[in-house]
């Protein structure tokens, strides 16, 4: 199964994004990333023919989707959207059973095979104990999994998911992605996922589809990371994305106000963001090596100077570990007369009560 987007323009009244030319192939997971409102959901809804394409074509296995009936389409493609509708009066089973509708006539007679398919999906997503529970009485995460189970019982070669990981705790996010990965690889399904969980996309998806410069591009996830495109896609400002740890952090060194730690140990990293959010950039002085370090993911060497050579006036606060107090000499007269911000601390507990 292949889905090809040809010169596609998406949007509601006027196009949000135009000239999309992408091909999706089965057996792969595609992750879609982009800013809020960039058109990720619109793209997914256009592909699944819920809203019409403004221009261009969507070809599924050499067939234009406009030439397929809703019923034919429902046997090829399934969609999971975030819960937007009041489903509280349904049981888990009711919702999952909807997935069998494309194969049922107006009598809606469910047979043994349907029940087996539904039960398998419930087992796969660990919902079997909740089968007859009303969705009003289950958690958001369980509801999310119910909606995914519904898509599974539809048994389509293509599964599209809009933010399937929202409302889930990390372990369940991982579990869902792993199940989707297995679906794609073992059952040769084509899976497209919108998610902000770049970490899980990196672990499990093969390709990344990203919204950049008014168009949509696709690349191998590794090249996407290598080229540091994440920072561009999200026009990150003040925070940055680290391609190795796959995580975000605040950009340090925006603030001119500095803090110096003398001695101490790595525990002060825990306070790193405390100082940053209060407008200070922390540095650390290692007395053995005569080095000033700054922190970005790990301690990095900034300058190689003896303590005596450092202009301590640059720092608004100086924190000194009482354990190393005896090993250093600080000429307090070096500071201005009104400079009182030298703070001694003994251990981690003392740092907890810092108030700057």
């Amino acid at each position: 199964m292949k889905i090809r987007l040809e010169d596609l323009a998406i949007g509601y009244d006027k196009p949000i994004v135009e000239n999309i030319n992408i091909e999706f192939d089965s057996g792969n997971i595609y992750g879609i990333v982009g800013l809020n409102g960039c058109g990720k959901s619109t793209l997914l809804r256009t592909i699944s023919a819920i809203i019409p394409a403004l221009n261009g074509r969507i070809i599924i296995d050499d067939m234009d989707i406009n030439r397929l009936s809703k019923l034919e389409l429902s046997r090829k493609m399934s969609l999971v959207v975030p819960e937007y509708f009041d489903l509280s009066s349904f049981t888990v089973y009711d919702i999952v059973a909807f997935g069998r509708y494309p194969y049922k006539n107006f009598l809606l007679k469910f047979n043994h095979l349907d029940d087996e398919i539904i039960n398998n999906a419930l087992l796969e997503l660990e919902l079997i104990d909740l089968k007859y529970r009303k969705t009003a009485n289950i958690s958001q995460g369980e509801l999310q999994r119910t909606l995914i189970a519904r898509a599974f019982v539809q048994q389509t070669p293509v599964i599209l998911l809009d933010e399937p990981l929202s409302h889930l705790d990390p372990q369940h996010q991982f579990d869902i992605m792993k199940i989707l990965h297995n679906k794609a690889k073992r059952e040769n399904k084509l899976i497209i996922i919108i998610s902000h969980q770049i970490k899980f996309l990196t672990i499990f998806s093969d390709f990344i589809v990203y919204f950049l410069d008014n168009t949509v591009k696709m690349d191998k996830i590794e090249r996407f990371l290598y080229n540091n495109l994440y920072n561009n896609v999200f026009s990150l400002n003040e925070i940055y994305f680290d391609r190795y740890s796959l995580d975000f952090d605040i950009f340090p060194y925006k603030s001119k106000k500095k803090i110096l730690f003398i001695g101490g140990d790595n525990d002060i990293i825990i306070f790193f963001r405390y100082f940053l959010r209060n407008g200070y950039t922390p540095y650390c002085y290692n007395i053995e090596k005569n080095l000033i370090y700054y922190y970005a993911k790990k301690w990095n060497i900034l300058i190689n100077k003896k303590l005596e050579e450092i202009n301590l006036n640059e720092y608004e606060y100086i924190f000194i570990d009482e354990n190393v107090k005896s090993k250093i000499y600080i000429d307090e007269s070096e500071f201005g007369l009104d400079y009182k911000n030298i703070i001694y601390y003994k251990n981690f507990e003392d740092l907890l009560y810092i108030d700057i």
């Binding site: 819920i50 389409l73 937007y84 509708y101 049922k104």
Partner: protein
């Protein structure tokens, strides 16, 4: 599941008890042994029969209309009158009362039907253009208000006699339903009710929202059109012959959902048909005997009975 089947059977049996009662009970006491004799046959077959069948089918029609609209608009407050159909039929009725001063039942109904169907065309026009159910709901209600204002303007300038005639019409009653219209009336309602039974799949799907209905292969824009059409015709046919009957269409789907505790319309549609029919027939029988020898309009009984029932259901549901 088994329990629900038993309940359905119970409700259907109840209908079979209630329908003969509709022929038996009334102002004139008919002894059971004289039921099949010539003596009372005119009263039974020409007066009570149309009224009994009319109210039973009318109740079913209004209830299914209400159920469809509640599902379509995903709004528990939707009823047969939200599309402005009944207001349009009332405009037809009041114009006839004004023009003919002493209109026959037929002219009244025909004008009501014509106006209702004009309104259906208006609603369908908006349904096709807007494709957005919320807008259809708002436009229906707004047109309803507009037409009500129109009616009030006519009433303001009308002589007292016409106003009273119109007011009696507005209360809604099956007592005036002649036997001649029963075949047409029943045929339209029964065929639409049976047609609704074939639409259980899209009705169920709409309950999950339009996006998911689309995903599982339901052409929602097509069915939006069909649902609006069915529920408008059902409402139009009842209000044109009997005047507006309040509450039945709104209350029966809620009663059905309360009794059956299911979201599957396979059960709910069947239940709503019989509950609606039974309820309106029961109200009609009550209206004959509540204040003897007066035969009060059934529309008064439905409001008096229907409002407390709905409140009770909501109360019990909260404290469940």
């Amino acid at each position: 599941m088994k329990k629900n089947k038993l309940k359905i059977v119970a409700i259907i049996i109840f209908s079979f008890i209630l329908l003969p009662l509709g022929l038996l009970i009334g102002n004139i006491n008919i002894p059971l042994k004289d039921f099949f004799t010539e003596k009372y046959s005119f009263i039974i077959w020409n007066i009570r029969f149309p009224r009994t069948v009319g109210s039973f089918l009318g109740g079913a029609a209004l209830s299914i209309s209400g159920l469809i609209l509640q599902i379509l608009f995903s709004n528990p407050l939707a009823g047969p009158f939200v599309l402005g159909i009944s207001s349009a039929s009332l405009v037809g009725a009041i114009l006839v009362i004004f023009i003919f001063t002493v209109p026959s039942f037929f002219t009244l109904s025909i004008f009501s039907i014509i106006f209702s169907f004009l309104m259906i065309l208006v609603v369908l026009f908006f349904a096709k253009r807007l494709q957005k159910k919320e807008s259809i709901l708002i436009i229906g209600i707004m047109i309803g208000y507009f037409l009500s204002a129109l009616i009030n303007i006519i009433i303001y300038f009308a002589p007292a006699k016409e106003v009273k005639d119109f007011h009696i019409w507005i209360l809604g009653s099956f007592a005036r339903l002649p036997i001649d219209v029963i075949p047409f009336y029943s045929l339209v309602i029964l065929s639409l009710l049976i047609f609704t039974l074939f639409l259980i799949k899209p009705l169920n799907a709409f309950q999950m929202g339009e996006v998911y209905a689309n995903v599982i292969g339901i052409d929602t824009s097509k069915y939006l059109y069909i649902f609006v059409l069915i529920s408008s015709i059902l409402t139009a046919i009842v209000t044109s012959f009997a005047g507006p009957i309040a509450f039945i269409g709104l209350a029966s789907p809620h009663i059905a959902r309360y009794i059956f505790d299911s979201v599957d319309n396979k059960i709910i549609v069947t239940a709503t048909i019989f509950i609606g029919g039974n309820l309106l027939l029961l109200c009609d029988i009550l209206s004959r005997i509540i204040l003897p020898p007066n035969d009060i309009p059934v529309g008064l009984v439905t409001s008096l009975l229907g409002a407390p029932i709905v409140v009770l259901l909501i109360w019990r549901n909260i404290n469940k």
